[in-house]
């Protein structure tokens, strides 16, 4: 197994929101698995950190939770994106893209600049 990267600060919430957007209502375990899968198993998610992150999003009103039954008939708490959550996702995604674009440009090999 290749060395796994830890989840960067602040990105977990964005991943959770994105996961909920693509997958629809999902329980905590499902979200954690899905994040790992999407990262191509390159990201080591501490499952225990998912729950405080979900709680924070819920307190901020970006997700809602209710008890339901899982695919294998187990009682589980399902999280669902709210309208405010969808907007927040858009905003965060845009910010993130901008940040990565800037950073990418920064790290790209510099051409035609000498020291003078």
């Amino acid at each position: 197994m290749a060395a796994k990267t830890e989840v960067w600060q602040g990105t977990l919430a964005l991943m959770v929101l994105k996961t909920l957007e693509t997958m629809g209502p999902l329980h905590g375990y499902g979200i954690a698995r899905r994040i790992e899968q999407t990262s191509g198993q390159r990201l080591a998610v501490n499952y225990g950190t998912i729950y405080p992150a979900l709680l924070k999003l819920e307190q901020e009103g970006y997700v809602r939770s209710e008890w339901g039954v899982s695919e294998n008939h187990r009682k589980a708490k399902f999280y669902k994106l709210t309208r405010a959550g969808r907007k927040q996702l858009e905003r965060e995604a845009r910010d993130w893209e901008q940040a990565t674009a800037i950073l990418a440009r920064f790290l790209a090999p510099v051409a035609g600049r000498g020291e003078g």
Binding site: G28, R33, Y47, Y51, E60, K75, K77
Partner: protein, 891 residues
């Protein structure tokens, strides 16, 4: 916004803990089960599947703890924990808790008591009034000198009312409630009536309990609408809460007045301390206050004007417009209003500016003194807490060893301190609600018409809350910082590290003694000054004298009838057995009435731009000076020869003679009153200068004219008795009523009782200062005792060793007493230095005593040192009783 929302949700998380805890357990359990199932499917053994799932979760309890941190508000949760723990600690040491709470309660209680009066006299708006913060009193501001506010005359009030655009309504009422004679079933009683504008109640926004208020048209034509509104207490006490009172007639000053309404019980009038019995429209002035036509006169400033600001208008805008109107008035009436401006003041407490100027500094002084007492109490409580903390230093060390941060330890001690001070605050409020009415009872019976309601209201509660919080922080911070500094290793090995702590304790005691010194010096100076004020010679004899006040105005007597009543009265009373002499005066000195006039004396014309000289003036009957015991220095008294048609004569006081005829004989000289071509008066006598307006006034020029030549509708009958003056009270009043049973006697008392009013503030301040000084002294002594006793307890071992080595009792005694004595001396020294720097701020209120009065300083130092010696003597005696063997074994 989002953050606020999250915060609120977390706050509710504090209260739904149990349900949420269950849900969290269920959620994580289902998570684990799902994960285990997946792992099983992946081919793991059941044990391994579970182990892997738990590893991935990062441990079940850890996951829960992370979650909990996010769920509630950890800060508040630890606070609740601290409070719970603190309460348990305080319960465990009931003795310590009781003493600390009691000490602080005394400090907080005195603050709350004094603040109750600050709130009632300076802050509280009149009750039952709609939005009192929008109401402002309007004054005339005189041009030069210190800012002096004067009421309005009626025409000016009307001008302001008609021409302003800033007030939704501008009401008026007559200065103080005045005597009105109410005739009921053949008897007449005096009650207090106030004249008000027709819009009075509607501008205030009060709703009638019964009936209605005045109509606008009832305040338009002089004398047309005899209607009254009754106060709730008059209706209840004098009319037995008659439910059908509206529409009934009351006979007031001989005129029938129809009752139109009754005020609600919580409305006490607009001046918080003077509640009238009834209100009548200003247009009924002639019937209610017979005499001059005040409605048209521009020189009588008897109207208080109060306006309600329109919505959105600031008081500064209102003031700007009023000043424009004041200038217009000054242009139209230069003879009276020239140079006058306008001023507005909020309607809080007793808003009369003269009263505020007097009461404001007094309250400041008292608040400073009780503030000092609270600081002393804080020092005591801090010492107790320190002693307590050193008993608990092992516990602190253990808590630090198992990971409590220093901040957490500080917070724990502070929480306990604040718990103590809140408990003390509650006891303090109880104390205040008990002592404030007690203080009110010190008021002399003559002042019964002044009703100060000083309830413990929300202002007092809020103030006490803040003071308690502050107290907790002040007295808790030192001990908290000190006791949180634990050296874990040495403390766990049970080594004592007391030097630093005892240094802080010593600093506290020294501070306490210094504060007490400061307070006692302040109180001592004030008491000395009061003593001086009380021994001031008022200029007349007080013992064996009687004063009976009469008011003929409500009777509508003609002048000639009044004159004959006066002379009949004097004739009859002079022949009563036990009466040495009787006379009359238009008013007595040092009362509520004063009269001053401008004077014109040949050779003393004022220079251009200088004010006209003035002198006090009273009208007195024959033999007044003899009856009052005022020494006649030159010339003669008035006698029956000085009749209405006889030459106009006048008697002056020595101060006036000194000012205008220095080194010459004033007898035979002439004086006239300023303003037009007034007749002149011949000086026939000079009497000793007395006190007229206040006991502390410098010598004032004063003049007397015969009552027969200067008629007054109000008069005070003075009687000199041979024996006990009280025994004459009833016969004198009977004699008056034998002449005319309807003459209203407003007051009948001995001059000793009469003098309790001018001496009232002095007495009250004296009692307050004495009580506060005593309290401070006991607190400081108790604090010193506690520290010395504690250090004796700590040094039992050392003392035992000393005694085992042959130290004598005397030496041990000197050791212990010496410690307390040294601390006291340092404190006294600091106190003296600080007092020398600060007492000059008292000089404006001190009378006949220097702010650095050596006698006061010496006496206070001695008292404090003696108290300190006594406080250290008790523990010292205990120290000498230490049995060396027990002491050596006690480690």
């Amino acid at each position: 916004m989002r953050r606020l929302r999250a915060w609120l949700v977390r706050l509710t998380g504090l209260f739904t803990k149990r349900r949420r805890e269950r849900e969290l357990a269920e959620e994580l359990e289902s998570h684990l089960q799902m994960h285990i199932e997946d792992n099983l499917r992946a081919g793991m053994s059941p044990a391994e599947a579970r182990r892997q799932a738990l590893i991935k979760l990062g441990g079940l309890e850890q996951a829960k703890e992370n979650y909990r941190d996010r769920r509630g508000l950890p800060m508040i949760e630890t606070l609740i924990q601290d409070v719970r723990y603190g309460l348990r600690q305080l319960r465990r040491n009931p003795g310590f808790t009781a003493v600390a709470v009691l000490t602080l309660a005394l400090g907080i209680g005195t603050n709350a008591t004094i603040f109750t009066f600050v709130s009632a006299l300076l802050l509280k708006p009149p009750s039952a009034i709609e939005k009192p913060s929008r109401l402002f009193a309007i004054w005339n501001q005189l041009p030069h000198g210190e800012p002096r506010y004067v009421q309005q005359n009626y025409p000016d009030y009307v001008y302001y009312r008609e021409h302003n655009t800033v007030f939704a309504g501008l009401l008026a009422f007559s200065s103080d409630p005045q005597n009105v004679s109410w005739s009921t079933s053949g008897q007449s009683q005096l009650i207090e009536g106030q004249l008000v504008s027709g819009n009075f109640f509607s501008v205030l926004g009060v709703r009638p309990l019964l009936g209605r208020w005045f109509l606008p048209e009832e305040d338009q034509t002089s004398g047309r609408d005899p209607v009254v509104v009754l106060s709730h207490s008059f209706w209840q006490q004098r009319l037995g809460s008659d439910p059908a009172v509206v529409g009934k007639l009351l006979t007031l000053n001989g005129h029938g007045f129809r009752v139109v309404g009754v005020t609600p019980g919580n409305f006490k009038g607009i001046e918080t301390i003077l509640e009238p019995d009834l209100w009548a429209p200003i247009m009924m002035q002639h019937e209610i206050h017979p005499g001059d036509d005040l409605l048209s006169r521009r020189t009588s400033y008897w109207i208080y004007a109060v306006g309600r600001l329109k919505p959105g208008v600031a008081s500064s805008q209102a003031l700007a417009e009023l000043n424009v109107l004041a200038r217009q008035l000054a242009q139209a009436h230069p003879e009276g209003n020239k140079g006058w401006g306008a001023a507005v003041t909020p309607l809080t407490g007793v808003y009369d500016p003269d009263f505020r100027r007097f009461i404001g500094p007094l309250m400041m002084l008292l608040m400073t003194l009780v503030g000092l007492i609270l600081l002393i109490a804080c020092a005591n409580a801090a010492n107790l807490l320190l002693a307590q903390a050193s008993n608990r230093s092992r516990e602190m060390a253990i808590r630090a060893a198992i990971g409590a941060s220093r901040g957490r330890l500080i917070r724990q001690v502070l929480t306990e301190a604040i718990l103590l001070s809140f408990a003390a605050g509650c006891v303090g409020v109880l104390l205040a609600s008990w002592t404030a009415p007690l203080l009110m009872n010190l008021k002399p019976p003559t002042l019964s018409f002044i009703a100060i309601e000083a309830p413990v209201d929300w202002r007092v509660l809020g103030f006490t809350f803040l003071v308690s919080l502050l107290t907790g922080v002040i007295f808790g911070l030192g001990p908290a910082l000190r006791s949180s500094k634990v050296n874990v290793a040495s403390r766990l090995r049970d080594e004592s590290t007391t030097t630093a702590k005892s240094r802080l304790r010593n600093v506290l005691v020294v501070g306490e003694v210094a504060l007490c010194m400061l307070l006692l010096i302040g109180a001592g100076l004030c008491l000395r000054s009061l003593q001086n004020a009380e021994s001031i010679d008022p200029g007349f004899e007080i013992s064996h004298r009687l004063a009976v006040s009469l008011d003929l105005r409500p009777l509508g007597y003609s002048e000639s009838r009044g004159r004959s009543l006066y002379s009949q009265m004097l004739d009859r009373i002079n022949t009563l057995p036990g009466v040495r002499s009787a006379s009359l005066a238009s008013y007595l000195p040092l009362g509520f009435t004063n009269l001053g006039v401008g004077i014109v004396i040949d050779g003393h014309e004022p220079r251009q731009g200088q004010p006209v000289p003035t002198a006090g003036l009273a009208a007195v009957g024959p033999r007044y000076f003899q009856t009052m015991g005022i020494p006649l220095l030159q010339g003669r008294e008035f006698n029956s020869q000085d009749g209405e048609t006889a030459p106009s004569v006048i008697v002056i006081n020595q101060e006036m003679a000194r000012r205008y005829w220095p080194g010459r004989n004033p007898i035979g000289q002439r004086i006239s009153f300023a303003g037009g071509n007034n007749p002149s008066f011949e000086i026939v006598g000079v009497v000793k200068t007395g006190k007229y307006r206040g006991l502390r006034e410098p010598a004032q020029p004063f003049m007397y004219r015969p009552l027969s030549q200067f008629y007054s509708t109000r008069a005070t009958l003075v009687v000199q008795s041979a024996g006990d003056p009280k025994a004459l009270l009833a016969p004198v009043q009977r004699a008056i009523h034998e002449i005319d049973s309807s003459v209203p006697v407003t007051d009948a008392e001995t001059l000793e009782q009469y003098m309790s009013v001018p001496l009232f503030t002095a007495h009250l301040t004296g009692i307050l200062l004495g009580a506060l000084g005593l309290l401070a002294l006991s607190l400081a002594t108790a604090g010193l005792y506690a520290v010395v006793a504690y250090s004796v307890a700590q040094r039992t071992h050392e003392i035992g060793v000393r005694m085992a080595l042959g130290a004598e009792r005397r030496e041990v005694m000197r050791l212990v007493v010496g410690q307390g004595f040294r601390l006291t001396l340092v404190g006294v020294g600091i106190g003296i230095v600080v007092a020398l720097a600060l007492t000059r701020f008292l000089s404006s209120i001190l009378y006949g005593v220097k702010p650095t009065d050596p006698l006061t300083f010496a006496a206070v130092s001695l008292i404090l040192t003696a108290a300190a010696l006594a406080a250290s003597y008790l523990p010292a005696r205990r120290a000498t009783k230490v049995d060396p063997m027990t002491a050596l074994r006690c480690e």
